[in-house]
């Protein structure tokens, strides 16, 4: 499916299943480290500001929430993720505002050395979003897709490299 959408990697929510076959183009998303993480690339994901700690890789943000509280808690290198799934249900005015907020969160990430991540938030195949569609959103809000893909690749590489270094030592 990732090839069909033009994506090199996709994040899959972990349901603690051990029956999955490790694949290179899959990154598991989990709320804490489970044994399955020994076989897959993984990211620790949180959507609760209170549970945000040093182990969290990715924080799922509501674009309409105030950024003051987040600013106090974020650390350098944290991924800040916006899910598109919730925006589909928004009415016209709020959908327009959502696009504006995407840009403002991107600027927030730039100034706080965090990684901006746009995700589909898909729970089924039909909700998945192609690379070209992600690029359209980025273009419309005024973010260069080329820079976005470069930064996200470097961030993912740094995350996996840090883990390998940890395993070796």
């Amino acid at each position: 499916m990732s090839k069909l959408l033009g994506l090199d990697m996709i994040g899959v929510s972990s349901d603690y299943s051990t029956s999955m076959i490790p694949q290179e183009d899959v990154i598991l998303r989990m709320d804490k480290k489970y044994p399955i993480a020994d076989y897959f690339s993984y990211l620790i994901v949180s959507d609760n500001i209170r549970s945000l700690d040093g182990k969290t890789d990715l924080f799922l943000i509501d674009p309409f929430q105030r950024k003051d509280a987040i600013k106090r808690k974020v650390k350098r290198g944290l991924g800040i993720e916006i899910s598109i799934a919730s925006a589909r249900k928004l009415e016209a005015v709020m959908a327009g505002r959502w696009l504006k907020e995407v840009k403002s969160i991107y600027e927030f990430c730039q100034s706080n050395h965090c990684q901006f991540i746009l995700s589909s938030g898909a729970t089924s195949v039909n909700e998945m979003i192609s690379a070209r569609s992600f690029e359209s959103i980025l273009n419309v809000v005024g973010i260069s897709p080329r820079i976005y893909w470069k930064e996200i690749s470097e961030w993912l590489y740094a995350k996996s490299k840090a883990r390998w270094d940890h395993v070796k030592s």
Partner: protein, 120 residues
Amino acid sequence: MQKVRQDGIMLNHKEKRRYVAIMYDENGLYRPFQIHEKIVVRFRELFGIFQSELAMLKLYDSEFGNIMIVGCKLKYLDYFLVSLILTQPALTAVSLSGTLKKLRKNVSRLGVRNIKNNPS
């Protein structure tokens, strides 16, 4: 190619179009013409009626089960794709081409009908 007119030179220029193959939920409530209407409404809401008319969003028959094809002017492709992903029900653009013939060929190569059984 140029046509010379009395009031100057007019370029015989046809604006480029792009055709997008869109995967939709076959078991959902909506048929392709209703989904097309929903995308057009979202486009109008986000980018305005004038832009929507200029984009010339047109529905085509895909000849595949859960795939529909929508054409739009290349200049408005980003607006169209944003409207598509911000439309409820969820839709996925699976292929894009400059001609309908090539797009149908691309879609037939994808084996889209098998996707639901192979989520990874």
